[in-house]
């Protein structure tokens, strides 16, 4: 990519490319039928959440299994605000914008709380906490059913295509446009965070907390910020999904869905926003493709029922294991590695945080093992040198 418009650099380059990609995607909607446009809108909504998740895991080294719950927070924030505005007589773009912001704020607040808890913990503990959160979601909606309406969920008012576009495009295409717009703003923001000082600090914290602290990075604040940013992105995704489907209910944001987001982030390549886009498309298209395939085989009805849903989970589970064991850099890793080895000396492993953390993994009772030969002779490198290399 560096060879295209070499004179464009920095933030301006990111913005120009974001604009071009968005226009391409919006132009692409004219080639698709309504169902494909609906799928595209869903994938764009997922992209927001997957982008946030990949930033959180890949850059700050915090694992969340609860991003579905954060999306749900965004969806409920959007739906409740949208309904309140409808009652107040507001509609159109203003209603959408305000409700979207409300959704993002709701998810960010929840993310802030989780981040505050998570800043004191490492990987597996945070994963368990977020797992408990997503499992508790249906309980929350039924305990506070006066607001969240239990399992049934909240329905929102129908948002038609604006009048000046009415003749030109169908509803699904309009929804795809809105979803693409929100997704592009969200991912651009994430890319900017990733490239900026914030991203640098996150990588520092991920690779070696002690070294980061010695270099003046406020570790806890960086972790909380990472979680909040990631939650805000997920909230935008949830709000868009609610806009597209006109409803939000706990049944849509289960543990299985949360794991699907993780699959998308891992398959695409942790830490890579481009990989997140790839992953988001895969988790939308692959289940549908498998269903079509299973339908074409004309299996007995009972077997087909058992396969539906389960088959895609099986495939995703296998993919998750294989990617993690064979190629932790994911699909986006291949050309990322080549590019990086050319320009700097950091390996893809370092990018993913799969080095340097080896010696701080065990508990305090393992002190003698900290300087074990395996971890010192391996790929552990001086973190500050790494940051300098990545800063360029």
């Amino acid at each position: 990519m560096k060879r295209v418009f070499p004179r464009l650099t920095g933030t301006r380059r990111v913005l120009v490319f974001a604009g071009i990609l968005t226009l391409l995607a919006i132009g692409g909607t004219f080639l698709l039928d309504p169902f494909r446009n609906f799928q595209l809108a869903t994938a764009a909504a997922y992209l927001c959440a997957v982008g946030g998740l990949t930033l959180l895991i890949g850059l700050s080294g915090q694992l969340s299994l609860g991003h579905a719950a954060l999306m749900a927070a965004g969806g409920y924030g959007y739906a409740l605000t949208s309904n309140a505005l409808t009652d107040a007589g507001v509609d159109g773009v203003v209603r959408f914008a305000v409700a979207l912001v409300a959704g993002v704020v709701a998810a960010s607040l929840l993310g802030l709380l989780l981040g505050l808890a998570g800043a004191r913990l490492r990987g597996p503990y945070l994963a368990g906490l977020t797992l408990a959160l997503v499992i508790a979601l249906p309980a929350f909606t039924s305990v506070f059913s006066a607001v969240f309406r239990g399992d049934q969920g909240v329905q929102t008012a129908y948002s038609p295509v604006p009048e000046f576009l009415n003749r030109l495009i169908a509803l699904e295409q309009w929804q795809a446009w809105v979803a693409i717009g929100v997704a592009s703003v969200t991912t651009t923001a994430l890319v900017l965070v990733r490239r900026g000082v914030g991203g640098l600090r996150m990588r520092a914290v991920r690779d070696d907390e002690t070294a980061a602290r010695v270099n003046g990075v406020a570790v806890r604040r960086v972790k909380v910020t990472a979680f909040t940013v990631s939650a805000a992105a997920a909230g935008a995704g949830g709000a868009v999904l609610c806009f597209v489907t006109q409803s939000v209910s706990p049944g849509g944001y289960t543990l299985a869905f949360s794991l699907l987001l993780l699959v998308a982030a891992v398959i695409g390549g942790l830490g890579s926003i481009g990989g997140a886009a790839l992953g988001a498309v895969i988790i939308v298209v692959l289940p549908w493709l498998l269903n079509v395939l299973a339908g074409a085989l004309e299996l007995p009805t009972e077997l087909e029922q058992r396969l539906s849903g389960n088959l895609s989970v099986l495939v995703f589970g296998v993919l998750l294991i294989i990617v993690m064991l064979v190629r932790p850099t994911g699909l986006a890793g291949s050309w990322g590695v080549r590019r990086r080895t050319k320009s700097t000396h950091t390996s893809a492993d370092a990018e993913l945080g799969f080095t340097a953390s080896a010696d701080r993994m065990p508990g305090s009772d393992q002190a003698p093992n900290r300087q074990s030969p395996a971890s010192t002779t391996g790929t552990t490198s001086n973190p500050s040198k790494q940051f300098l290399a990545q800063e360029r």
């Binding site: 694992l63 597996p124 794991l259 993780l262 998750l320």
Partner: protein
């Protein structure tokens, strides 16, 4: 008052199961420094096996034995086949691989057996015995308590009094030194996984007759409870798992009894958040900070 006594007693019985499952998490943690998120799914496969064997032979004991042995076999397969090859440099890789395993196992069970709940019969009566007019434990609850505490006692003996236990502890705490002293660390890790998976299978086998029945997702909640127990008790400490398990069991029983079962997951979440914020090392653990 009667209700309180009843809830406390059933909470203890339920808590013993949570403690057993949490102990299995502690075993893997101590052997391999991994929190095994696939523990619930692995135990579930063993439970299906036990269910099938009990269905064929008509004997609960045969099913129980098959489930426990099956659990150990699954532990062996998972450790040798998958977990051993996960990148060990970061705890996240192990967690993600385990989650992939959960998806594979649960979807395979769903394809093989469908989503319906299969009721599992308990070997003993499940109606509570009245002591002085107060309903307390059922015979099955007593069976659960005896088995759970007995297994924990046996494990304690194994770890503190046998040569194998010494090797297991040595390879968990100082793998490099142990290897130099002739301990086959790789084998010890495998044995740790097998022990742990067998204990988890036993816990699931004890729990499921008291629940709705067998379903590809019936251990999801058990894992969350056991994780909470492990966090409350401290992952390094088997005693913490026992005390934490009984605590969580009683707390959950009180919440379910007085506020309704829908609130229970929120109760778990609140408990987790409070413990992690106030005492991240675990209530029953003396350690200062929690490092992954």
């Amino acid at each position: 008052m009667d209700r309180l006594a009843f809830l406390l007693a059933t909470g203890l019985a339920r808590g013993a199961i949570f403690a057993l499952f949490a102990l299995s998490l502690v075993l893997i943690w101590r052997a391999a420094r991994i929190i095994n998120f696939a523990q619930g799914a692995m135990a579930l496969v063993a439970t299906y096996l036990a269910f099938a064997v009990t269905g064929m032979t008509g004997s609960y004991a045969a099913g129980l034995a098959a489930g426990i042995l099956g659990g150990a076999a699954i532990g062996w397969v998972v450790e040798r086949g998958v977990m051993r090859h996960a990148p060990h440099s970061t705890p996240l890789a192990g967690v993600i691989v385990a989650i992939g395993l959960v998806m594979v196992l649960q979807s395979l069970l769903g394809i093989a057996f469908g989503p319906q709940y299969r009721p599992m019969a308990a070997p003993f009566d499940e109606t509570p015995i009245f002591v002085g007019g107060v309903p307390l434990l059922s015979p099955y609850d007593i069976f659960v308590l005896v088995v759970a505490l007995g297994v924990m006692g046996l494990l304690a003996l194994l770890f503190t009094r046998t040569a194998l236990g010494l090797q297991l502890r040595a390879s968990a705490f100082a793998p490099e030194v142990s290897r130099m002293l002739g301990v086959r660390v790789g084998r010890m890790v495998t044995i740790g996984w097998m022990l742990s998976a067998a204990v988890a299978a036993l816990a699931a086998l004890l729990l499921i007759p008291t629940e709705l029945g067998l379903n590809p997702h019936s251990t999801d909640m058990l894992f969350v409870y056991a994780f909470t127990v492990a966090v409350v008790g401290g992952l390094d400490s088997p005693v913490g798992a026992l005390l934490g398990g009984l605590t969580v069991g009683v707390v959950m029983s009180l919440i379910t009894g007085y506020l309704g079962s829908t609130v229970a997951p929120i109760g778990v979440l609140v408990l987790l958040v409070v413990v992690l914020l106030v005492k991240p090392g675990g209530v029953f653990s003396m350690r200062e900070a929690r490092t992954a």
